[in-house]
């Protein structure tokens, strides 16, 4: 099948892909660009481990075809991580033991970054809704919720 070339922005840098139409965006990011932080846990859109930001919205990387990303602005977990160390949200997830095996973690990090970028002081209900499409088999979500609530509370007290 004919390959299509796709030009897009990934984590702030221009990138090109040469892909078959059947290839998912998540597959292409991992296989063509080496961005293996986005994980494929189900490839049918339920688990959320491949969640990335496309044109400002969190989407399932496995439910978008790479060819559909022509001209798109894509941000992955690699893109929301600082050059070294951890972002505020990442540090909170560590502090509150919001991860164990780490497989769902990139998706969680991405949706929480998106949430806080839109709303620095989300309520508990808003946090819950934001991560509701992300399955985690290890933590029982409690550490993740506590981490996000702590970040929101810090923002509240510092008036971020």
């Amino acid at each position: 099948m004919k390959k299509h070339s796709v030009d897009l922005t990934v984590n702030g840098r221009e990138a090109s892909l040469l892909v078959e139409p059947r290839q998912s965006l998540a597959d292409a990011l991992r296989g063509e660009l080496g961005l293996t932080g986005s994980h494929l846990g189900c490839e049918h859109g339920v688990c959320g481990a491949c969640t990335i930001i496309v044109d400002g919205d969190p989407v399932r990387g496995c439910l978008m075809l790479a060819v559909q990303a022509q001209g798109a602005d894509v941000v992955t977990v690699e893109g929301v991580s600082p050059k070294v160390g951890l972002s505020e949200i990442q540090a909170a997830l560590r502090e509150f033991h919001g991860l164990q095996c780490g497989f769902c973690t990139p998706g969680m990090v991405v949706v929480l970054h998106h949430l806080f970028s839109e709303n620095p002081r989300p309520s508990e209900a808003e946090i819950r809704e934001a991560i509701s499409g992300q399955l985690c088999r290890c933590t029982g979500y409690q550490g993740i919720m506590n981490a996000a609530k702590a970040v929101a509370a810090r923002h509240q007290s510092k008036n971020v």
Binding site: T36, E43, V77, C101, G102, F103, Y141, Q142
Partner: protein
């Protein structure tokens, strides 16, 4: 001091940044990909296979079927003791004449990409002669049932008969009796399985990325199957996205992927997809109990009389019948009941083979026993907690010999003050506090469950610790890690003994190339076995360093002290030499020694390196736990809302409270999944009907109540130096029972709620669909 502190995990940073390396993140030059063609039938004969069209597809390198396997290849062996001979039920890596479950491997396709391999799979032509699928274990053992194997569908029948059960039943003042079933479900880690095998034909070396849990054991099994030397195969555990008991069994793919890599002479990667995973990973739980529990007038439980039927699926795998075996051995739980009888049957069906899932046999037995005890309490009209309290094993009766055994090890509870923990738990939860029975038309109920989780089974674990010239410490552990936090806790133990900060310690694990022998990670054993091995090796390093410093500087060992990663002269309170300095001194061929030999120098050495194996822990460390929960039930629809969940347990000693709490909370949520949502359901043709995440429902954040873990360090384990007990399985173990009891309490019903999962429909059925309109 780091042991016992809530140290943040050393492995977290790489995961949070997306820099974890899981199997699918590994590639090798000239790598090709494998896809496994699996049986679409639950039960069928294979009449003919035609690969011509598939082999002709561009990009296909090879297709291997059962006919290509070496002549005389043995089936995959069961590696733990079983009840009776289960060898007639073992599985070959590829089916030859007959398939026995949907998903059974029939062929391995190797192609340039996974997509092309899947294209080729559609071109494989197989003539199947379908046979009747056997999916109901009760029917499977009826006369005339279609035999799945030549030896028949009843794989085993065994049991225990302790004390005088008929006598106790005949004298009982109260008897409760009912059936309880636990549905087929499984671990369902977020990462599927995967393997990358690379064969160096010239050197006859095989490297395999992706194995986990028990890499040394699996390496040895593979070496035997391939006829290779054990050290010629290296299994390397990458980061692993959860296991919960399901990984580490020697699966057909563990043979097939290395086998095809050796054939095509290129690295072969196989990444299981989620739909494959549903059919290929071991299933678990699937069993039914009939329980009769008897008590006298004083509320003393006098007997348990139990029947257990377990659906084993279509083959006996690596873990044999360990699940029903554990269930049977531990059924009496934390109670001093000496009259106990169980009649257990293991039955073959045309379903995916079964194995272990977190708290194997225990989640199941606890559900049946604790629901039955609630029934008994209701009949007697006494408080449910009080009935349990009256029957707990007393501290002075420890160690407690249940009188049973599982996998040829006697069931022993080493230590514990069960009544004390129970009282504290009840008080902390407010068990006796009155509560509103109804909220906006929803009924509220409260439930509890008491249980014992044996943890940390032997036979051994190994660790080598190396300190380098810069004072950096490398721990090479025979344990493995699938997300539990072992890199952190093992580093904590070494940090404490060696007085070296966590940042200077690295833990490596799950790699047969770094340590000769390893036990692995299962049965909540790593804190105990791996942890004590690290402790022992660290003590060895400390001793070696002190001895070396003593000889080098002519100071008595008693006057030396290890502090802040250096040897100090105790009296003068000054550092003498760092651990790095000692490591340099102890290097083989040390220049200092060779150039200017003197009396102060120490003999040539083999480095500041210590290998330590801990061996032979005969009895598990018993964790006593009490679960409690409040649940709201909508009596019109059967909908539920768990308002709060509470676990109290005595873990002996905590290495890291953050990780202990995380294990409990996460475990409870898995238990909630098994209680309310998850089911691997089959139709009568043997087709799995819940084979995607859209049908197999796991808890999301909306399904999770606030969960409190109250952790005690009351009764240290007597079987290990650290005094730790395993905490991996107390979370899920009591959830089905606790929730079932709470719902029964809410609805004031003494029928139903004996079949998991507790769907809204089943919850409503327990009240006879009452209250309509």
């Amino acid at each position: 001091m780091t042991i016992g502190k809530p140290v943040v995990r050393v492995e977290d940073e790489r995961f949070l940044r997306g820099e974890g390396r899981f199997t699918a993140d590994y590639t090798l030059p000239f790598m090709v990909e494998a896809h496994i063609f699996r049986s679409p039938y639950g039960h069928a004969r294979i009449a003919a296979i035609n690969l011509d069209a598939a082999l002709a597809l561009k990009g296909v390198h090879a297709i291997v079927t059962g006919a290509d396997l070496p002549e005389g290849l043995a089936p995959i062996q069961c590696r733990i003791p079983t009840h009776g001979d289960l060898s007639p039920y073992l599985q070959y890596p590829l089916a030859r004449d007959k398939v026995r479950y949907v998903g059974e491997p029939i062929a391995v396709i190797v192609a340039d990409t996974r997509a092309v391999a899947e294209d080729a799979a559609e071109l494989i032509e197989i003539d199947f002669d379908p046979l009747p699928a056997v999916t109901d274990p009760a029917r499977a053992i009826e006369p005339g049932a279609e035999p799945i194997h030549e030896s028949g569908n009843l794989a085993g029948r065994w049991g225990f008969d302790l004390g005088d059960v008929p006598g106790a039943l005949s004298e009982a003042a109260f008897i409760a009796s009912d059936s309880f079933s636990i549905q087929r479900h499984s671990a369902m880690p977020m990462e599927t399985r995967g393997l990358l095998a690379s064969y160096d034909a010239g050197r006859n070396l095989l490297d395999i990325y992706g194995p986990t849990k028990v890499v040394h054991t699996n390496r040895n099994m593979l070496a035997a199957m391939l006829g290779m030397g054990e050290a010629e195969i290296r299994m390397i555990e990458p980061d692993v996205g959860g296991s919960f008991g399901a990984r580490g069994e020697f699966y057909p793919e563990d043979y097939l992927i290395p086998f095809v890599a050796m054939r095509v002479r290129r690295p072969v990667r196989w990444i299981e997809d989620r739909v494959e995973h549903f059919a290929a990973i071991n299933h678990s739980r699937d069993c039914a109990f009939h329980v009769t529990v008897a008590a006298n007038r004083d509320g003393i439980i006098t007997a348990f009389d139990v029947k257990l039927v377990t659906d084993m699926g279509s083959y006996i795998r690596t873990h044999g019948d360990v699940v029903p075996s554990h269930a049977a051995a531990s059924f009496p739980g934390p109670y001093r009941v000496r009259n106990y009888r169980i009649d257990a049957m293991t039955v073959m069906t045309n379903k995916t083979p079964t194995g272990t899932y977190r708290a194997p046999g225990m989640f199941e037995a606890n559900f049946a026993r604790e629901r039955a005890i609630d029934r008994l309490a209701d009949k007697m009209g006494i408080d449910r907690a009080e009935l349990r309290r009256r029957n707990l094993i007393q501290p002075e009766e420890m160690p407690w010999y249940v009188g049973t055994e599982s996998v040829k090890r006697p069931t022993i509870f080493d230590s514990g003050n069960f009544p004390l923990i129970m009282d504290r738990a009840l008080k902390a939860y407010g068990w006796d506090a009155p509560f509103e029975r109804e909220v906006n038309g929803w009924k509220r109920g409260r439930g509890l469950c008491a249980l014992v989780e044996p943890s940390g089974l032997g036979p051994f674990e190994g660790v080598r610790i190396e300190v380098d010239q810069h004072g950096k410490v490398q721990i090479f552990s025979g344990s493995s890690n699938q997300g539990q936090g072992h890199e952190t806790i093992l580093a904590q133990i070494a940090s404490e003994v060696l007085t070296v900060p966590m940042e200077k310690i690295r833990v490596r694990h799950g790699d047969t190339g770094i340590i000769t022998f390893g036990g692995g990670t299962y049965a909540s054993r790593t804190a105990i076995m791996g942890g004590n091995a690290v402790h022992s090796a660290s003590v060895g390093v400390r001793q070696k360093a002190l001895d070396a410093a003593s000889r080098k500087f002519g100071i008595a060992v008693e006057d030396l002290d290890l502090r802040e990663g250096a040897i100090w002269h105790g009296h003068r309170n000054e550092p003498v030499v760092t651990l790095g300095g000692i490591a340099r001194m102890l290097m083989p061929g040390n220049q200092e020694i060779l150039v200017s030999p003197s009396a102060g120098n120490i003999p040539d050495n083999d480095g500041l390196v210590v290998t330590s194996y801990v061996r032979g822990v005969t009895a598990g460390a018993a964790v006593f736990a009490v679960h409690m929960a409040d649940v709201l039930v909508d009596p019109e629809t059967g909908e539920t809302k768990v308002e709060r969940y509470f676990v109290a347990c005595d873990v002996g000693r905590q290495l890291n409270p953050l990780i202990v709490e995380g294990q409990i909370v996460g475990g409870v949520v898995q238990g909630l999944g098994g209680t309310f949502l998850e089911e691997l359901a089959y139709n009568e043709d043997g087709q799995l009907t819940t084979g995607t995440f859209a049908d197999y429902l796991m808890p999301n954040v909306y399904d999770v109540p606030p969960i409190t873990a109250l952790v005690f360090e009351e009764s240290p384990a007597l079987t290990n130096v650290l005094g730790v007990k395993g905490v991996g399985e107390v979370g899920p173990s009591g959830v089905g029972a606790t929730i079932g009891n709470a719902i029964a309490n809410a609805l004031a019903t003494d029928t139903g709620l004996n079949k998991l999962p507790l769907t809204p429909e089943r919850i409503l059925q327990s009240t006879g669909f009452g209250g309509l309109q």
